[in-house]
Symmetry: C2
């Protein structure tokens, strides 16, 4: 499998600035694995034995609250790291990670992190850069939840997904994995009912096309107006 993987991997931003031999040395210590749709990659509170690099597929990261609510923290796309608890001084995973579709990933034993970080400074710097942008994302999310109405938050979430995983089709830009109203609700802190109503309304206005576990954004620009609260109400 080596060579196919390597060509896929070399261009990833996690490995930016690494010499080819270093890259081989790092990747050589990983095992590759596949995760079937709806199977967990890792689970909340579990011992963080490995960290992962998603090569193909999409993974949903979810936190469960004691009282049964589920909040989706983020979706992981190919090329992104996940489960890097160890780099942040944690010994357990902070959330559940579930394959939204069949996935392929590389996994490193967590105990390798200190050595890898010490030997390959640009690998470590790249990693912390993604940590930084996740912290940023989380704060953005807090701000959205604090200051925006539900329709704005849902619009923002759709646009983020489109940017992350959008795939051009004849009808518009499709979010490239199965996503339900419930999923969107868990990303935006609302209920599937409200999401359903919003999508219905937007479909009537020609902004989106949606179906069973499928959303296509037809007019990103108008959706952005809603996201920014600069759209007159219907």
């Amino acid at each position: 499998m080596g060579s196919l993987d390597r060509s896929l991997i070399a261009g990833l931003s996690v490995f930016e600035g690494l010499a080819a031999t270093d890259l081989d040395r790092i990747v050589g210590q990983a095992r590759s694995l596949r995760i079937a749709k709806d199977q967990p990659v890792f689970e909340q509170e579990q011992e963080a034995h490995s960290f992962f690099l998603l090569l193909d597929g999409h993974v949903r990261v979810v936190k469960s609250t004691p009282d049964g609510h589920e909040v989706t923290v983020r979706y992981i796309s190919p090329g992104e790291l996940m489960g890097i608890a160890h780099a942040l001084g944690r010994t357990t995973y902070p959330a559940n990670a579930i394959a939204a579709v069949d996935c392929v990933a590389l996994a490193w034993p967590s105990h390798l992190w200190p050595t890898l970080a010490a030997n390959f400074p640009s690998f470590s710097a790249n990693t912390y850069k993604t940590v930084g942008s996740r912290l940023q994302d989380a704060h953005t999310r807090v701000i959205e939840m604090s200051t925006e109405q539900v329709d704005q938050r849902v619009a923002h979430a759709l646009l983020k997904l489109v940017k992350q995983t959008g795939k051009k089709t004849e009808e518009g830009i499709l979010i490239d994995f199965p996503i339900s109203r419930q999923d969107i609700a868990e990303m935006t802190g609302t209920t599937l009912h409200t999401v359903s109503r919003l999508l219905s309304a937007w479909e009537d206005q020609g902004l989106v096309k949606s179906g069973r576990q499928k959303v296509t954004v037809v007019e990103p620009h108008r959706l952005l107006l809603i996201a920014e609260g600069r759209a007159e109400k219907s």
Copy 2:
């Protein structure tokens, strides 16, 4: 300034695991500064020239949105790092930091970070551990905003402040810096009106005592019940 500072500093968790000479080497490269109440330590979008260690006082970290809302990200207490944008691959500060009271801090030029991190691995590990717990905090905040009602969030915020900066008094535990209804509103994503009503109601029930820019928690345990949604409505 050396000796007085050093005894204060040696016990801080950021410096855990460092030899005394290493600590001197690190602290020796910092300059100490004082910030007057209501003055900025650093500002959003500004070039991140330095990172800081708060020695005394309290700093409020706030993000401003384009449309004029302000969201308080966190309060920094003595012993905590702030402005560590550089360690996360950013070149500008992500938020405003404002002294809630007169403060004392150490400041290192940001460009020292890579060398410090490389030379003192436990310093770097400690730093990333605090980054990890802030990421954690941010996610907790998102979850609270997604699943809890305003009264629960305000109760949680007060309890967090009490834990962070609580000072025992005869009447209960006092939050040890001036904090207005507006400030609490900005932490919890609500309005000063709602916070005022809640505090009034809680005061009637003997849970808290509050006055101008001052909150004392009298019965943390009952407040926790509210925070967890396990309290019957008045």
